[in-house]
Symmetry: C2
């Protein structure tokens, strides 16, 4: 069993340095918080100042026996209010609802969890806090006892685990976290995800998820309208991520061409070939491996220097496959590649797909968000000619994870492809319109409710709000590009203004700037980004991704999807890269 | 744009009847709530009494212009406190963090969302509230405007949408909700899921999910220990549900036998055959269709009258397949079938799999929880001989949705089967131990954090707490069985004490009891359960599932996984079935 060491209590002073900037922020924040009645302000202040955090009188490694206040409104610290005390050290999960008299401890416990979460939310947006308090895996494993045991722990320990978990979490909403395509923390999305957890239901039938099933219907229809399919007609589903959405597309394309594959398997069909660009996402190959198509049957089409698929190469490879007697069944064009943020020329791809009667899929997991922007949606021109589209609102649109949609132009195909008619779920003699029992079109049986956070955010922001979000992030990327394109010590991986928020560049430390462009320089340059990244994580100030690609050695890939970021944060990133990398 | 009609405000008086029992409960609850300081009690009381709920002075369809209190501690209702007012009618999502000065409205907004959720949580366990406030799809679609628009809505409308959504939600934690295998609402699991949403990260690398990756490691190891694999060694993953976990098993089994399938596809391998029982879950066929194996290659093995696979039939069908030159590659035994709750004889299946060198998978999505009980785990004897096991803690263990694990005995196989070495995620020159970057073993790229709620619940309950939960639910099922097995008007679908919590029975209304057991009786009996179920949903008092199976016409399948249920709730279900069905 874990005994809470003093480390459990260090959440309040994150870097342990007593940094005056930090405590100044805390104090300033407290002044704001004090305007609240109702105890939240006091509690958060106490947490920020640390006096509710440290095991003060009770000594380092012992659970505190003093009480936490459920919701105390007094202004004194330490507070000695006699009312409504909840001593979590003597409470266990079994004292919470549905226990008799469980309401009081339940409300107090959930409120205290909420206070911990609210504190984390506020800190996530505070630039004086770290993006990450990095520890190596073996350190984290050794510093704490994470093991599972036979006996229960008390609720005080459970609250501490919540604090500890957040202490070591990445603040993915932090304005200086640029590491992944999914960043940011939207407050309405967060609220919606909390509600989804509380409703705790499953998407398979209208019977048990009436509102969520309707909202999925409404939201998918709206997304199809935005894609440009007449009247928003078609089909779709929210799936557990872009890789699965892409796999669905491959599955449905195959079924459309050879419906007998469902019963007979791949043995009954000729060799099928899928085409996608060399810059496309690895999930296409992953899907082909899983679906029994095989990765050798995924042909990677050449890209131009900006990472866009070259249509003439696509056509050449289609003809080549046909000459071998193989059957081209799917082209997956990418709208927003993972590394370069490139948009394949969808209109040209659509023409080729039409000519050869091939299913056109668009993987717009990353780029789909640009459809919300009148300024940028031209980059996806031709998407309306696709047979299916992957679009992940949890990326560029800032919806909390997970939220990925697969949209299909032809209605009913998903159902035919995947349905198994389980009589225990999809009873045909129910008393309501069975067309709302959409679960049988899924690969999954149970399916998490992913739609509500998108729907509620859409209501709160409007399409115009998403547009403003997208336009802002793209403007920030252009700002970064303009700063570094002519700055000493930077080289762009490809020329020209970014089409998405991806900005790919090398930082060249002074010692390398004098070298000729030879193998030694390449070899040394390849080691720069990993070292800077490691130093970033250890100092916890910012995070950005790097990778090699093709013959290009490790370079930084900056992406911006968090509307919390500002020009100053971009400036900070540049300064930080130079601070951490100049001696290399 | 939706204009909030009066229906939006009816959450406080759920059935609109002014039912004295309901308001009595509300009053009693308020007395408890009043013991709190800090405003929660007052706010919840106000919500229960409805004076904060109804658009009182401002008229039906107009947004209120009066203010909501962020957190008011006064005892007066209506409250006129001048402090800390937040007028949501004038606030939008853009006023929340990361906006400048966004902390105050953000904390107030999230606290108000939380109050709505806490109210829902309390009502979920209140037997005087409905399980469901049922509306037909067209009613729900017409009564409200769910459409998405260009312009944003204010936060008052957003809070109303939260209330409306919960008003029509199924209370899946309600003690009388028995409809699915996943029921109940665990308070620690809920808190953990809120934290997961707040952390909003992705499982693919240690870099961005350090604690969650370690907790997955610890938790999967513990689950493998409980399965009985030496030292808990092996592999595994949390996947988006049991169907996907079963698909993983099929995928890995195929790869183990024919690794070339990854590159070459199914064309390169002989015809593969999978075996599972006729009572097994439909996801086996769904997986076979997706993986290019084909549903015809899934052979359904006969079951005995209790729904258990008959080993001699399994062996016969394996030999038959081999004689045809096909290759048996997978047997999926079920531990806890969906309808009967039957446990296949795992030891006998293991002997056959060993004899013919076939991958043995155990689909214990539903039955896996029984491994936590010293009293009941014998039902899974032989599971330790499996090559892979599906086990869904979101079913019998009451973890919030989604939480499904696939456990694999051989380490490294998942990685070899699924890895694609994406260089932008799985950089090989990172500064920490790369074995913790587990994302490439998944079919997915991004993957939701499903482990934390299970881990935190396990810490809070201990293994003994899960054991008590399981034992209690099984005892309740036996209680139900003992009541109805000899009760007039009931017929059991199969004889004998239930092995899981599934109790399958027909209710025979008085008018049918006099009929001979002929086709007419069967035909009339088949219509009884759907009508009773429809009436249940319309009255909202309880929910239980029904279905036909094989030659058996519609029968009720009772399942119990919610520890909130009591003997009285079982009695209530029986009385309710009789009340709603006696005239049929």
């Amino acid at each position: 069993m874990a005994s809470p060491g003093s480390g459990f209590w260090s959440f309040g002073s994150e870097d342990g340095s007593g940094d005056p900037e930090n405590s100044g922020t805390a104090r300033a924040w407290c002044q704001v918080a004090q305007k609240f009645t109702g105890g939240i302000g006091n509690k958060l202040c106490a947490l920020l100042y640390g006096d509710a955090e440290k095991p003060a009188e009770s000594g380092g490694s012992q659970p505190r026996t003093t009480s936490r206040k459920a919701t105390c409104a007094c202004n004194q610290k330490p507070c000695n209010c006699p009312k409504a005390e909840v001593n979590y050290a003597f409470l266990h999960a079994t004292d919470l609802l549905p226990a008799c008299d469980g309401e009081r401890p339940t409300l107090a416990f959930l409120q205290d969890v909420m206070d911990i979460l609210l504190q984390y939310v506020v800190k996530s947006f505070d630039r004086s806090t770290k993006v990450i308090d990095f520890h190596y895996p073996n350190e984290l494993l050794q510093e704490y006892n994470w093991e599972l045991a036979d006996q229960p722990q008390n609720l005080e320990e459970i609250l501490m685990h919540c604090q500890t978990t957040l202490k070591y979490a990445i603040k993915t909403g932090h304005p200086r976290y640029f590491n992944q395509l999914s960043t940011g923390l939207d407050m309405v999305g967060l609220a919606a995800d909390w509600l989804t957890s509380t409703a705790n239901t499953n998407m398979f039938t209208y019977e048990i998820a009436p509102v969520f099933v309707l909202l999925e219907y409404v939201t998918l229809k709206k997304m199809r309208e935005i894609i440009g399919w007449p009247g928003g007609s078609g089909d779709g589903i929210f799936s557990p991520g872009g890789a699965i959405s892409n796999m669905y597309a491959m599955l449905i394309a195959r079924f459309k061409m050879f419906p007998e594959v469902k019963e007979k398997g791949m043995a009954a069909v000729p060799r099928l070939i899928a085409f996608t660009s060399e810059h496309s996402h690895f999930s296409l190959k992953k899907g082909a491996a899983a679906l029994g198509i095989g990765t050798d049957s995924v042909i990677l089409i050449k890209c131009d220097e900006r990472g866009k698929m070259i249509p003439s190469d696509l056509e050449r490879r289609i003809l080549e496959a046909k000459q071998k007697g193989f059957v081209p069944f799917l082209v997956s064009a990418t709208a927003g590649t993972t590394v370069y943020g490139a948009f394949d020329p969808l209109l040209a791809v659509a023409d080729i797909c039409k000519k050869y009667k091939i299913w056109m899929h668009v993987d717009a997991a990353w780029g789909g968000g640009l459809l919300m922007s009148r300024k940028h949606k031209w980059k996806l021109s031709g998407v309306e000619r696709a047979n299916s589209v992957t679009w992940n609102p949890h990326k560029m649109m800032g919806v909390p994870l997970q939220c990925s949609a697969l949209l299909v132009r032809e209605e009913g195909l998903m159902q035919s492809c995947n349905q198994m008619h389980a009589s225990y779920l999809f009873q045909q003699d129910k008393h309501y319109d069975l067309s709302y029992d959409t679960g049988d079109k899924a690969l999954q049986c149970g399916r998490h409710v992913d739609v509500f956070k998108l729907w509620l955010m859409w209501r709160a922001k409007g399409t115009t709000g998403f547009e403003a979000h997208i336009d802002k992030c793209l403007e920030l990327a252009e700002y970064l590009y303009n700063i570094i394109k002519n700055r000493e010590g930077y080289e762009m991986v490809f020329d020209g203004k970014p089409q998405h928020t991806n900005v790919c560049f090398w930082y060249v430390p002074p010692s390398l700037r004098v070298l000729d462009n030879n193998e030694e320089r390449m070899s040394r340059l390849s080691k720069v980004a990993p070292v800077i990244k490691a130093r970033m994580m250890e100092s916890g100030t910012t995070m950005v991704s790097y990778q090699p690609l093709g013959d290009k050695v490790n370079f930084f890939r900056m992406v911006i999807s968090n509307p919390a970021a500002t020009h100053q944060d971009i400036d900070f990133l540049i300064e930080e890269i130079e601070r951490l990398g100049q001696d290399l």
